[in-house]
Symmetry: C2
Subunit: 336 residues, 2 copies
Amino acid sequence: MKKLVLLYGVFILAFLIIIASFFRPSQLDSWHNVDGGLRGDIGEQYVMVTFQSGIDYWKPVLKGFEDAAEALGVSVDYRGSTEYDVQEQMTVLEQVIARKPAGIALSAMEPTALTASINKAVEAGIPVVLFDSGAEDSKAYSFLGTDNYNAGATAAHEFARLLGNAGKVAVITLPNQLNHQERVNGFQETIRREYPKMQVLEIKDGKGDVVVSREAAREVMRDHPDLRGIFVTEAVGGVGVGEAIVQQERLGQVKIISFDTDKGTLDMIKDGIISATLAQGTWNMGYWSLQFLFHLHHELAPESAGAAGKQRMLPPNVDTGVTVVTRANVDDYYAK
Amino acid sequence: MKKLVLLYGVFILAFLIIIASFFRPSQLDSWHNVDGGLRGDIGEQYVMVTFQSGIDYWKPVLKGFEDAAEALGVSVDYRGSTEYDVQEQMTVLEQVIARKPAGIALSAMEPTALTASINKAVEAGIPVVLFDSGAEDSKAYSFLGTDNYNAGATAAHEFARLLGNAGKVAVITLPNQLNHQERVNGFQETIRREYPKMQVLEIKDGKGDVVVSREAAREVMRDHPDLRGIFVTEAVGGVGVGEAIVQQERLGQVKIISFDTDKGTLDMIKDGIISATLAQGTWNMGYWSLQFLFHLHHELAPESAGAAGKQRMLPPNVDTGVTVVTRANVDDYYAK
């Protein structure tokens, strides 16, 4: 009987110790320390908004957004206009704002049309960041996307590597579009500055069209028999240039660097027609967009920042970078 | 006796339930979910390395670094050369590498001298990011610092606001230093493109010296009686320009925008001599450097990234931004 009472006492003590430690888990294990660690609430919902929401291009962005949400213990939703239609995107954005989410990551189809809606959200206390396509004069806290000048510079370095730092190259681009102009500037200026034995002979308009780009490639190969490479600043034209090189039997003599990772481009890399393409940092865009929104929602600004805290806690511009895709790593880039 | 045995049984049951729930805390409270949330180990040490390690400029960077460490439950250390001496900085960096920390955030005094050490660290599996001053051809994963072109554009917008979008301005700068050239380019091109009633009359060399800058300001005011503003791209010269304007009794007629937040500059803002200065995003540099190192150390890369994971999980370039400091918010910027 005495033994039983003793055992009884021991159990009560153990029970109390466990109850106590359960309510103060930080003293047992730093992983249970609720004061340290970045973690939200599963009821916190962050929304990613795009246009042409069904295309493959957004998939790795959404994956990054979801990965960050999992890491931080919060929820996400994905919305967008199904068509390439700015009115439809505005309607979708307004519906999302009306639900008062914890934050919105938006790729703006057009740089000005959505500014009023973005500003309305920010003024209502809903954090907004922009990714991939910005809205420069809006009140969004940050823009995360490819720095196109730097991407062009990467293409220049990759051509130098492919051609042993010497040789004549051409560019096929969309000369009237700012992001493509920046790619070409970065490419040209890097070659001029760093590779004196290389030369950019011509810059042609491929109109983002497979046939036009194919013809432009034919012409430039005809006019310059010593051409060693073509940089195509967008994917559709890249496939056209690949076709021209196969048809003209210049495979191996004229190398191609293209842009983005559409299936047609990846297939031509596998077949050795396109030497390399530049994959945009789409996962980065999604992952760090959610991180930034999380920091805004939880107001994790430095105390010293005063009233300007939210402005001062986030980088206003993030170059999410490009990676060079070649035959060696092409399999990692097919949509899963 | 039976009662006691029953009670005994109840306690054992309660004990087992609590033990069970303790090992699966995620089902009780999402805050205890060890699978969610970003948190490291207090034994994980990240090191920030600078040069002239005692100057005020680094204080908010270190504060950001420490704030991120606190948020993530990890430790930091701060090292640097005491002098403006690249050999000393290299020695400090080598000592830090030898201790195999979880990650290193480095501001490189010189863009090439430290590259071999940086690469050695990265090859040994120690993540390195650069902040404020980079080392472009090193294997560091990311650079976080002020985009000087964008900073110059911000100065242009602020002058437009101060002058009601019209008026003649001059620039006093360090014409031979790349970061200052970029500030001037951003300033000039923004005015040319967006403010047709504004004009940049002259760009003068202030040599980063208070006397030279004062004389340059005197000359430009003498040559252009209708001058409305001077943009000074560094803080020492800014104080000299302020002195010239006081001495020439042009206060209020000629407005100054300066750079950085040295005490002399802040005092002149308080006194109404300098209208605005641009504060660099130093807290951002430290905070996001630590976040990036944490992600590298824990290899939080997307599964899809394959071998290039570490390259693909971080933005390679981050513009940590500037904020405009005026009399209204100058008190937030004095070193604490």
